[in-house]
């Protein structure tokens, strides 16, 4: 790996991203809406009198949520937990927005051929483009977590806030989010190096959100209450997938196919 080449690609992508207001705006909308929605929803629930919730919370909730009581606080705990799952999806959605344009966008703007005519290795180019998608997506997702928890501290009782700060969530946002973002970015690059349209590439990457949504649904059904053990297995799976997709990306990314077949 040539660190100078990776850094050069990363710096240029960051410069372009900063000046492309449309992409910057697209990146800001989803996390802003999610954080605002999380805070607004929990604020609305918290304002509703406790008495109105008796009997409305499913009995099949995870024991940790039931421990909050069967009323408002249990519902707040469940909703807060669900929003944190949704925040994890940002780590999958944002990199695909950036990375799907990483190769196809250059082809469309006809900047790819001069770039591919430089001595940069394919792996370094891919890594630079990946990091350019992963770094902002990770930082935005982590910031989203911090703001959401800060919002919960304002809208929810301490027992619910403690639930959202239990070790598994900081670990998930601190360590697993970069790996998830990397998986999304790599998969987008694989897709965008094989298709002619960034939207198709983004569409193909949409499948990655299924496991995270599945975890959220399992949580609602009381089958899963995310803990460090689950996270460790999930993280291991994501890392294995990262390695496999990186290998696939380097194998599949063909300079000449992109130059000669893409129109």
């Amino acid at each position: 790996m040539n660190v100078r080449h990776v850094r050069a690609v990363l710096r240029r992508e960051a410069l372009e991203l900063r000046r492309n207001r449309l992409v910057a705006l697209t990146m800001a909308i989803l996390p802003t809406a999610l954080v605002a929605s999380a805070v607004a929803t929990t604020a609305f629930i918290a304002r509703t009198p406790e008495g109105e919730f008796r009997g409305d919370v499913p009995a099949g909730l995870a024991p940790q949520l039931r421990a909050l009581g069967h009323g408002r606080d249990a519902l707040l705990g469940l909703v807060a937990d669900q929003y944190l799952y949704m925040l994890l999806l940002i780590a999958l959605a944002l990199p695909s927005t950036i990375a799907a344009h990483a190769i196809v966008g250059e082809k469309v703007e006809r900047t790819l051929e001069p770039l591919l005519a430089t001595p940069i290795a394919t792996s370094d180019l891919l890594l630079g483009k990946c990091l350019a998608a992963v770094v902002p997506a990770t930082l935005i997702t982590q910031l989203g977590y911090v703001l959401t928890v800060a919002g919960f501290a304002w809208t929810c009782p301490p027992s619910v806030v403690a639930l959202t700060c239990r070790p598994v969530w900081p670990l998930a946002f601190g360590l697993v989010v970069p790996a998830l973002a990397m998986l999304s970015a790599l998969a987008s690059i694989v897709a965008s190096s094989r298709v002619n349209d960034p939207r198709t590439a983004q569409g193909l990457v949409g499948f990655l959100v299924i496991p995270v949504i599945g975890a959220g649904i399992s949580s609602v059904m009381g089958r899963l209450f995310l803990d460090v053990g689950h996270l460790a297995w999930g993280a291991l799976g994501v890392l294995v997938l990262d390695t496999a997709v990186l290998w696939l990306a380097v194998k599949l990314f063909s300079r000449e196919a992109i130059l000669t077949r893409w129109k």
Binding site: R110, E113, L115, L116, P119, A121, R255, E256
Partner: protein, 318 residues
């Protein structure tokens, strides 16, 4: 500096370049001429190590395009058909990115040097998206020469430029040539090729012919003697000209007034021109002027490419 032997590239069943043998010496400006789809861009991509050949071999600046394409890419500069600049970035940011990929030391100084040379230094902080086509082309050339490459590939460097911008690009190519840079110039502009290139290769999937512009003209296009005649012009005179032994062929056309213009192919132009004039005067023609017509490179090009087309069509029919 460039040596290709039997170089070829197919895409599925489509043959883009076939059996290309080429030698370009250090410091030479080599023109690659050919119609659209002749394989010029594929040849450049093969010789810059961007795509792999399906047959044959080539070395550029001492490195094999097949075995060490990254080393080849480090030694060459390329100007693609379109400038391919990052339009949201300014000139310095564009060049800095490519300079970092080339791992140049003293990069900022070098950027200032090339931008000043191309008269772009005063515009260095503007996003290049707002620049004119000529300025973008100059910046693309600056990018191609930034790392002082041993070989420079220029694909249609003046295409779409206004005459003044085209002239400044041609002047730059001449300067680079004077500095000893080996240049491969792909162009449709035959006048440009003739003015800038030491040798020219005419490509149509295969390299049809390689030589200096002067030799190509001499070998492939017959020189003509152009005689302008005053009135009267008679069919009898036409028949007599056709019978003169030193006339190989001729064509006549009205010159707009009452006179005629004759284009005569002589057996030995240097010796036979006086005989032609004498014979015309004796035949009663009024000779207004006599001039040699140098065959154009365009004629050579059209003849060669046309013949290749006919061969291909004939081959296809059989």
């Amino acid at each position: 500096m460039i040596r290709a032997q039997g170089l070829g590239r197919t895409f599925g069943r489509f043959v883009a370049v076939e059996s290309l043998d080429l030698d370009v010496a250090e410091g030479e400006v080599f023109g690659l001429l050919g119609p659209n789809g002749a394989g010029k861009t594929t040849t450049v991509r093969l010789l810059t190590g961007v795509i792999e050949p399906t047959s044959g071999t080539a070395t550029v600046a001492g490195h094999s395009v097949r075995d060490a394409p990254e080393k080849v890419r480090a030694q060459v500069g390329i100007l693609t058909e379109t400038p391919g600049l990052y339009v949201r970035l300014d000139a310095v940011e564009n060049l800095r990115f490519f300079g970092e990929l080339a791992e140049l030391s003293g990069l900022e100084r070098r950027i200032q040097e090339v931008l000043s040379r191309l008269d772009l230094w005063h515009r260095r902080r503007e996003p290049v998206g707002g620049w004119s086509k000529g300025m973008r082309q100059r910046l693309a050339i600056a990018r191609a020469v930034l790392h002082a490459p041993k070989v420079l590939f220029l694909d249609e460097p003046t295409s779409g430029l206004d005459p003044e911008a085209a002239r400044s690009v041609r002047a730059l190519v001449s300067e680079l040539r004077a500095e000893g840079c080996t240049i491969v110039l792909c162009t449709h502009n035959l006048d440009e090729a003739e003015r800038l290139c030491d040798r020219i290769g005419i490509l149509k999937t295969r390299l049809l012919r390689t030589d200096t512009p002067a030799r190509l003209r001499r070998e492939f296009a017959e020189p003509r003697t152009v005689v302008r005649l005053g009135a009267p012009w008679t069919e009898d005179l036409e028949a007599r000209i056709a019978a003169w032994p030193f006339v190989r062929s001729f064509a006549s056309a009205a010159d707009g007034g009452e006179g005629r213009t004759l284009r005569v192919a002589l057996a030995a132009p240097d010796l036979d021109t006086p005989a032609l004039v004498r014979a015309l005067v004796e035949a009663g023609a009024s000779v207004r002027s006599v001039a040699d017509e140098t065959p154009s490179l365009e004629r050579v090009y059209l003849d060669l490419v046309g013949a290749a087309h006919d061969d291909a069509a004939g081959g296809g029919a059989s």
